[in-house]
């Protein structure tokens, strides 16, 4: 059957920020498919100019309301490397626990409240409160656990207070850490239950080969710093971030596109999984096995499953980190430093993938140049070309306009895009 239709989803719901899906079909054939970001830019790279280095993480954390800890730590890492500051080991561990809290919170928000309604066929998670109360409750309890970790380690769930150059300004109390450890023990069964629920969902069958990028250090699953690697065998130093991004603009998007060796690349949970499978906690590997998820997986819808697998890793690893902190006197948390001129990149694995901040300082410790490349920016081209391939595959399978529209929405949501972050 030859059909003509246009899919024009203005401000796609259940994602962070403002992006449009535009698909045009003529005579039953795909004429055009676009991922068009229409978000307003805020110009962070300009705002950091002239700002004191110590104030920068408090500015850049505001790039994103979901992954503010990652932005704060990317700026801190770039500025510490630029000004040759070495944070104490205790601070390094506290920061890692903060990242775990943020990633758990972000993954739970996405999986249970943004993505799950697609699979259940509801407009939001609110109707799921009636139909699947135990799943929604598990989602809320895991999100709360993530937030409690962030609050204990940084003072607040969104826009961290105590992450500063040189370390952290305040250590979490041991009493609070012990309480959170208990909370983890209590909530692990909920994660297992939620995993059973996600196993009952049908993940769309779609594959488009791509190049997955992430951090890698060969010692632990990546969060803060490391080499930049891809599944195509590229490996570079953290400071070589420009060679990993090659940003360019397109006329239909206020968010830039990037690429490495192919026309597009992908960052995020699935990319981390594909590059670092061996470094996952055994409990997370067991979860992956239950879904048949193995590296290298090229189905973008499996990013949802990779996030769930990472939740298992985060919870298990957080328990071990808390034990280390409970054995620590938590006194050596901040290094003294003097401002100096320098330049460096700070790379971290934000919930949605590898995030780069590059900062240059002058002798007085003021920033003279800044650059931020966001995970979702590094996914834009992949989303764009995936939409094209998915729409073509769906039309070849004889799917209706409504089915194509729903699949395309689900595809974009699988990337868990953080759009205002990507435009910044």
């Amino acid at each position: 059957m030859k059909v003509d239709f246009n899919i024009d989803i203005h401000h796609l719901p259940r994602v962070e920020g403002h992006g449009d899906i535009r698909i045009s079909v003529k005579d039953g054939k795909l004429a055009d498919a676009k991922w068009a970001v229409v978000e307003t830019p805020r110009f962070f790279e300009v705002m950091v100019k002239g700002l004191s280095a110590e104030r920068v993480p408090f500015l850049t954390s505001r790039i994103c309301g979901i992954c503010s800890i990652s932005h704060s730590l990317a700026s801190i890492r770039s500025l510490e490397r630029a000004m040759q500051i070495t944070p104490p080991e205790t601070a390094r561990i506290i920061r890692l626990l903060a990242m775990h809290g943020e990633t758990l919170q972000s993954h739970a928000l996405h999986l249970f409240f943004l993505a799950a309604p697609d699979f259940a066929g509801t407009p939001s998670a609110v109707p799921l409160l009636q139909s699947h109360p135990e799943v929604v409750e598990a989602g809320l309890m895991l999100k709360e656990l993530g937030n409690e970790l962030s609050i204990a380690t940084t003072g607040r769930a969104t826009h961290p207070v105590s992450l500063v150059l040189g370390g952290v300004s305040k250590a979490p109390s041991k009493q609070r850490l012990a309480e959170i450890k208990q909370m983890i023990a209590d909530r692990k069964p909920m994660l297992d239950k939620a995993t059973e629920f996600f196993k009952t969902l049908t993940i769309p069958d779609f594959v488009r080969e791509t190049e997955f990028i992430s951090l890698y250090d060969g010692e632990s699953y990546p969060y803060i710093g490391g080499d930049l690697v891809t599944t195509d065998g590229v490996r570079r130093d953290e400071n070589d971030y420009l060679a990993m991004t090659n940003e360019y603009t397109v006329d239909f998007s206020t968010s830039k596109f990037t690429k490495v060796s192919r026309e597009s690349s992908a960052a995020g949970a699935l990319a981390r999984f594909n590059n670092n499978y061996d470094l996952l906690h055994p409990q997370a590997k067991a979860a992956a096995e239950a879904f048949g998820l193995k590296p290298v997986c090229h189905n973008p819808f499996m990013n949802n499953v990779a996030q769930l697998v990472e939740c298992h890793h985060l919870v298990a690893d957080a328990e071990e980190i808390i034990d280390r902190l409970l054995d620590d006197d938590l006194k050596d948390i901040k290094a003294d430093y003097k401002p100096r001129a320098g330049a460096a990149t700070g790379a971290v694995e934000a919930p949605r993938g590898v995030l780069y901040h590059y900062m240059e300082t002058d002798e007085s410790g003021k920033v003279v140049k800044g650059d931020c490349i966001i995970p979702t920016t590094q996914n834009n081209a992949n989303i764009h070309y995936d939409l094209h391939a998915l729409a073509e595959q769906s039309l070849a399978q004889g799917k209706s306009e409504k089915e194509v529209e729903k699949l395309c929405e689900m595809l974009v949501r699988s990337y868990d895009p953080c759009i205002s972050c990507s435009v910044h």
């Binding site: 830019p41 300009v46 409160l129 937030n147 305040k170 205002s420």
Partner: protein, 255 residues
């Protein structure tokens, strides 16, 4: 919904975002332990970030973000036309927020630095929403404090008076028995900034940057004198005062 023996109608609410990080809307889904009770007060008609259902019969509009492009002005005015009560939600909506740190750079420089030769539509300044529409209530904060949001939403639902604390952050900071950051040699905006955040930043041993704007009846000159008496940097003070755009009237006085 029953409150003290009275039936309360659910609030038909819409939540909208403009130029921002969406972190304030995210707070609506935080504080998970009281979330079911909080949601029981609300009939969510329009909230793109969490629901695909978009209905335009809301009475209360929470508006997050600052205004930086003309199409946002039109969208904001349409929301104002529909809403019986419009709330400026978060520091960006209330004051222009940290987005306004770009205001001191010409917009051509902003566009060239980030996009090179690509054409980008943006205003010279990041505006607070009251530059374009009448605002009924303001809930400042970067991000907003969910406890305060809960209190205000309950007040709207029960038709009780709504007020923000008039006193400065120092009051809450002292209640938490923190060491004063001025005594540790730092310029903190706690003495002149509006409380209601439970002094979350100084309690984490970092300075208040005034995200909630000025408290009522502040003695700004005396604050500047305090910074000078302590021999602290007025450049640093000015950088902090400009951080969230909440103190523009005072900064202009200072020249």
């Amino acid at each position: 919904m029953n409150h003290l023996g009275f039936d309360i109608e659910k609030l038909k609410i819409g939540s909208f975002d403009f130029t921002c990080c969406e972190g304030c809307q995210l707070q609506l889904a935080n504080k998970e332990s009281t979330l079911p009770e909080f949601l029981a007060l609300l009939d969510i008609r329009n909230f793109r970030e969490i629901s695909s259902e978009r209905l335009d019969d809301y009475d209360i509009a929470l508006v997050e973000g600052s205004i930086t492009r003309q199409d946002e002005v039109e969208r904001l005015k349409a929301i104002r036309a529909q809403a019986k009560v419009l709330v400026a939600y978060g520091t960006c909506a209330c004051f222009g927020g940290m987005n306004a740190q770009k205001n001191k750079f010409p917009k051509e420089e902003c566009i060239r630095t980030v996009y090179g030769d690509k054409q980008i539509d943006t205003m010279q300044e990041s505006h607070k929403i009251s530059d374009f529409v009448t605002v009924d209530y303001s809930i400042p904060g970067c991000p907003v404090n969910k406890e305060e949001v809960e209190r205000i939403v309950v007040s709207i639902a029960t038709r009780s008076p709504i007020a923000l604390p008039k006193y400065p952050v120092c009051v809450e900071c002292k209640q938490r028995l923190n060491t004063c950051l001025f005594d540790l040699g730092e310029v903190c905006l706690g003495p002149i900034s509006r409380a209601g955040c439970d002094a979350v930043c100084p309690s984490g041993k970092t300075v208040c940057l005034g995200c909630r704007g000025p408290a009522d009846g502040i003695n700004y000159d005396s604050f500047v004198q305090l910074v000078k008496d302590k021999e602290l940097s007025t450049d640093e003070m000015n950088e902090k005062l400009a951080f969230y755009n909440g103190f523009t009237e005072y900064l202009n006085h200072e020249g």
